[in-house]
Structure formats: C-alpha cells, structure tokens
Symmetry: C2
C-alpha cells in the first residue's frame, strides 16, 4: 500500500462505513446514527480531522470506558425557555439530536431559549449543531469547555480548555452563515501535527511546563497553550468555562481533565446552546431584516474577504458531486483498531 | 492654570456636576439621571475616557441634533422571554434602565431572556449594564454595533463597528466578574490619541484608505481599523452586527454611519442584552455551582494572572475612599462648551 494512496468514497459509503464500525465498536443503534452523521459532515466539508478519523477516537473512548456506549439521554424542561438533556455519559451528538426539536420549539414559543447538554463526551466540532439550528430558521450560539490545556492571558499554567464558540445564522435560500473556532490560539491537533513532524511551533502558541517561552511542540503539549487574541480571547475562554460549566451544573475544563485521570480520553462535561427565533423580535418583518444581513455579507465578500465557512461550503459542493478521497491507510488503521476493540 | 492641574472631587461632586451640566445642555430629567450615573461609574473605576469627559460628547450630540434629549422609551414584550425598548432616538442609558427590571423578571420566569434596545444613541461602555444585571444575580451578555470603521479579516474596507462584547457573572459576596472589550484591535480613541500625539501606530492596527499597510494614525482613521485576533475576532464582529442589528430590526454599523451623514455623531442603532438566571438550570444547587466558578477564578489569580475588571475594581476602592482627580482644564472645557450649547 502506498503511503498516499486514497480510496474514493461516496458520502453514502462514508456513512455505511462509519455506521458499521461504530456498531462493531459497541455503540447502541441510536448513538451509531447520531455519531456517524457528524463524521459524514466532517468528510463532506473537507474537515478530515472531524471525519472518519474520529472513528479511532470513538473506538478508544469505548475501549477505555470513557464513554457509555448505550447511554439513553433524558430530557427535562426546568423553565419555559430552558431545555436540559442529561446525556448519561454518552456522546454529545445523540443528546443534541434528542434536544434539538425541543430547543427549537422553546425558542419559537419564548423568543429565545437555551439548552444544556449535561454529562456528555465531546469529540466532535460544534458547527454541525449550530448549522442544524440555523437550518431550522434559528440564530444559534454554542460553546463547551474541554480539558484544561490553555493558560489565561498573563499566566502560564493551564486553566481553560480549547473552549470553542460556534455561531449560526439562517440565510434564506442559501447555506447558513456559520463559524466555529477554538478560543485557544490554535487547535490542539495542530500542535500534535507539529510534534509528529518534528517541526517547531511559533513562539506565541504556548508555554513550557516551567512557564518559559518555547517553540518545542512537546513542551507546549506538556505545558500550556495560549488563548487567541491575548486578554480578549482569554476573557472569552473564561466565559465559556462559566456558562457551559457551573451555570449548567457541569464540569470546568480543570474538573474534566481531573476526572479523566490520565486516560487520555475526550473531554467530559456540558455544552450550552442558545437559540433565538428571528420572528420573535421582528414578526412579519423578519424577511426584510434578514435581507439586510445579506447586504452585510455582500460588503465582506465584495472586497475579496471570505465569509467563515466558505471553504467548507466549497468542499461540500465537490464532495456531494464527486465523493471524498479517504487515505487507504486510515481505513486499514481503523479496521485494525476496531477489530482489536471487540 | 497649569496644564496638569487637577481638582479632587468626591463621587457625589462628580454626580452633581454631571447632572448640572446635562441639565444645562437640555436633557430631560430622566435622561440626566441615567446618563450621569454612567459617567460617575467611569470616573469611579478609573476609566477617564468614560467619565465626565463624555459630557463633551453628550453636549455635541444634543447640539448637532444627533440625539433626542427628551426621548421617552417605550417598552413592549413581543414574546414571553423578549423585552423590547424603543429608545425614541435618546441615549441608550435610560432605555436600559427602563427595561432592566423587565429583563430580570423575564429571565427569572423563563430561565433566559433577551432585551433589544432600539433606536438609541450609544456613547458609553457596556460594562455598567452587565455589571448591574450581575448584581441582580443574573449572567449577562451585551453587544452593540457602532459605526463602520473596521475591516473584516482578509479585507481592507470598513464594514464592522468596534462592536463591543460585554459579559457579567455574579459573584456571591464580591464584585461581579465583568469584561467588556471592542472586537476591533484597539479602541478608536487609542488611535485618536496617537494622532494627537503625532505618534505612529503599530502596523497591525489598520489599513490606509487605499488598502495598503500603514503606521500613520490619520490613515487608519480615514481607512479601516483591524479586528482583534484575526479571522476569529472578525467572526465575532460579524456576529455582533447580526444579533444586535438585523436580528432586532436595527441598524448595522454601515447603516449607522450612513445615517450620521458626516455629522461625526455617536453611533445610532440597537443593542442586544441576554440574561440567564443561574437558578433556572440549577435550582437550589445554584450556590454550590457558583462556588465552583470561584475555584476557576482562584486558579487564574493564583498564578499571577489578572481577572478582567480587576484594575477597575482597584481604582473603585480608591475612588470611593478618596474621591477622584479631574483635570481642571477638562472642567473648563466642558463649562465653555456647554455654555455655548445653550
């Protein structure tokens, strides 16, 4: 097998392969379906790191006992505009899927609503979730802590997770405006890639364990990453800890990594999703005002700047028409690991 | 009068002076009271640029017809968790004050609520508002567009305002955790200060009108500022435009500056404030979970990093005990301008 050999798969092939693998690993049918869809979305949008590569992570999470493979999410509504889904230690995707229609209904009834996912394992991006809500016609904001890997601005010791913030905005007749970024300077996977390649990292990515400046990837991984945007990114990272941690009765990133106890598992804890119905403030005038948002997008694109998500959307068009190219070695690795994990 | 001569004023002196001046300028009594309090808060917390200096801005806004000095805010509740305050073209502070108890009540009833301020003139910071809501025991997030001065990442033409995001978190027995930052690289006033001092600005602050790189403050002011944090800050700036603009039926920053038509007035438009009641998700367990947030704050401060707002809080302690030192020249300037403006 050549190192760079790929297999052309349709998205249906990807879905079938992901489902078969997740089933073999031991996930219950409902989790298989929910988790497989996020991997299809990752491959489809050219985010290989969130595609079927994550089958390796899912398999490890089951094998190490990090995730409850057949958890049944339990839904409650503690207040008219609040939805809570206790994921029972399972992957977040199914908890989200179960809560989504209830969140949408609450947002339409109350104008704004929030959903807490509690006691879930996170190993996927947030953009599929805010995109789904935007496709329901809602404005959505989602965030989650992770593991304590990131130092606050002015410090050098890890407190925050990579703490992503994702946002979705419905665009009539088009794909939603969606962004999803880590509040850390870069994704942790970027530093891993530098480590594997033996390449130095830029000096503003992180701190060594002793707090000194470093360009050695291993030292950043063992020490602390930095937030993006200095004290402003650090403030946002703190906000994510608070509103998707204590506010919803769930773990901070420091508590999540302590609970992991060195297993190297995915972050465990909560997620907060806020949804707003544009018809709430605007009523029948919603369409007219959403059209003004289109003028904003045009003023960005007309000067040659890209909208967030535009690369994913371009990749999606190709993937839907032509399928995706998956490294043959990755399939071999996944097959080997998931046969072991039985 | 020596250039650096100051007058020691108690905060009550500041309040009396601000009220007398705003009354002379022509604001109605309700606006006088609301606007004066934000200036007292600015002086008290060592934010001179948001203290009585702003009396000059308020006077200009009235003189140029930018603001309606006796506007009466009109409150409505388009959905159970949505409050709308039409400010009638007046300053935002009174609209906020009128809506605040209704927003708090809606958040307690529904778990989460949002308030739109519409048709208001903005010339003050957002932190006093989220701090007030946090003092009511609520978690609060506020944002507003401004005037189109900031280019999107990857572009060089202004689209966004300085688009601040402010967040407040209640701390039992202490001052709330509060941050408030512009999504532009720096405050516009910083660039003004460099211009007046004839100092170059760092090359990552903005673009010249022709799109080229520049370190000349005048060129950045005439061209475009940059967002903080590259494409991530740019994404957040876009979010603020959307959720505090079209989503609430109000102006984008481009529309606000177009409406200003060269008068040089303060931004006109909307503001969105989201409030969440910690008791909504947590019920009786709220105190226990807020205590876990305190552990997060401790892990930041114990390593020598500062919490956002800590400088303001330190200044506040001094101001409350000893009063504040106000430049005598500033008082003379304000007196001169506000006598003219009668």
């Amino acid at each position: 097998m050549r190192a760079n050999e790929t297999i052309l798969m349709s998205l249906d092939d990807v879905r079938d392969y992901a489902r078969a693998t997740l089933t073999r690993v031991g996930l219950s049918p409902a989790h298989v379906e929910a988790v497989a869809e996020t991997m299809v979305a990752g491959e489809r949008d050219g985010c290989a790191s969130h595609g079927i590569y994550r089958l390796l992570v899912a398999a490890q999470s089951v094998a190490k006992g990090v995730v409850v493979p057949d958890a049944v999410p339990v839904l409650s509504r503690p207040a008219p505009a609040l939805i809570r889904v206790d994921g029972g230690g399972g992957f977040a995707q199914l908890a989200f899927d179960r809560g989504r229609p209830h969140l949408a209904e609450a947002a339409r009834t109350c104008g704004i609503a929030a959903m807490a996912l509690n006691n879930v394992v996170h190993f996927a991006a947030l953009w599929p979730e805010v995109e789904a809500l935007a496709e329901d016609g809602l404005v959505a904001l989602a965030c989650t802590p992770s593991h304590a890997w990131v130092a606050p601005a002015g410090g050098t010791k890890p407190v925050f997770g990579t703490n992503p913030i994702a946002f979705g905005w419905p665009r009539p007749g088009g794909m939603p405006f969606v962004f999803d970024f880590a509040t850390s300077m870069v994704a942790r996977g970027e530093i891993e890639l530098h480590r594997r390649a033996g390449k130095p990292v830029p000096p503003d990515w992180g701190h060594a364990p002793d707090g000194s400046a470093t360009t050695v990837a291993e030292e950043v991984l063992a020490g602390a990453m930095r937030t993006f945007g200095g004290h402003k990114g650090s403030a946002l990272a703190a906000m994510v800890e608070l509103i998707a941690g204590p506010l919803i009765g769930d773990l901070t990133s420091a508590e999540s990594i302590a609970k992991d106890a060195g297993r190297g598992g995915s972050p465990i804890g909560g997620e907060l999703i806020i949804a707003i119905d544009p018809a709430g403030f605007l009523g029948a005038a919603a369409a007219e005002h959403l059209a003004r948002a289109e003028a904003l997008f045009a003023s960005i694109e007309e000067q040659g700047a890209r909208l967030p998500g535009s690369r994913r959307h371009a990749a999606r068009a190709v993937s839907l028409a032509e399928g995706v190219h998956v490294p043959r070695q990755l399939i071999a690795d996944i097959d080997a690991v998931t046969k072991e994990s039985r």
